[in-house]
């Protein structure tokens, strides 16, 4: 039986940055709403190679308080662009992330699927462009800090 009143299910933003393994079930459960038929989720996972070089693991660090502020801005922007969006959750893992595990998850619930999918796409694009988080790829013999091509001030070809 459903007891939640729609009007009580106020839109909420869930932001988390820490070293714990991310969970698709957990983030889906956070955003699911009885008045919404759609949840879209994007999961960014770590890849085992970069331009043919074998990646052993990834290490992430963040300017945590500012990263939370920037993610909060993304949530605000999503709500301006897709007013029907209900809940938004953006989780980013920090520290060491083994290959094939999730580094980031963005989940959005909405009454209809188009908004949820568009909002998730916007969310991950915006995160890559503006949230102060850094990834170091560790290869067998060395390591390298990466640059998102979306980074709004980067001038390289990456």
């Amino acid at each position: 039986m459903e007891t939640v009143n729609d009007s009580e299910d106020k839109p909420k933003d869930f932001i988390k940055l820490n070293c714990e393994k991310l969970s698709a079930d957990e983030i889906s459960a956070l955003v699911i709403s009885p008045c919404c038929g759609a949840v879209a989720l994007f999961v960014g996972t770590t890849r085992n190679n970069f331009e043919g070089r074998k990646v052993i693991q990834l290490e992430y660090e963040a300017y945590e308080p500012m990263a939370e502020v920037e993610i909060k801005k993304i949530c605000t922007d999503i709500r301006l662009k897709w007013p029907s969006v209900k809940h938004i959750a953006i989780h980013h893992r920090l520290g060491t992330v083994p290959i094939s595990e999730a580094s980031v998850m963005v989940a959005v619930s909405a009454p209809h699927r188009a908004e949820s999918l568009e909002a998730v796409q916007y969310g991950i694009n915006a995160l890559k462009a503006a949230v102060p988080i850094w990834k170091k790829e560790v290869y067998e013999d060395e390591s390298a800090w990466k640059e998102n091509k979306e980074c709004f001030w980067a001038k390289t070809e990456k």
Binding site: G44, Y60, E61, A62, Y63, P65, M66, A67, V69, H92, S103, V104, I124, L127, K128, A130, V131, P132, I133, W134, K135, K136, W145, K146, E147, N148, C151, W153, A154, K155, T156, K158
Partner: protein
């Protein structure tokens, strides 16, 4: 002159050899002058001059002629190109 806290991340932390320090700077300074003050202390950062921006009180500021009006204890971060996601 007033004290501000400078934070370094990722490649900038490796080049500076430090993650946090307090430096003294004029209350009014352009972001480019601030960068030059920082490079005086950590010459290795010269290499990434074209790639970094600041975050002043957690707001992005490009290196250039923009005048910063700082307060004692302000947090200034050196932000190399990001790679979250």
């Amino acid at each position: 002159m007033l004290p501000v806290v400078v934070l370094y991340f990722a490649r900038s932390a490796e080049l500076a050899g430090v993650r946090t320090e307090t430096i003294s700077v004029p209350q009014r300074i352009t972001s480019l002058q601030l960068w030059e003050e920082i490079v005086k202390k950590h010459s290795g950062l010269e290499d990434i001059r074209d790639q970094v921006v600041f975050a002043v009180r957690q707001e992005y500021v490009l290196l250039g002629d923009q005048l910063l009006v700082l307060h004692s204890g302000d947090e200034i971060a050196v932000i190399p190109p990001i790679s979250g996601g």
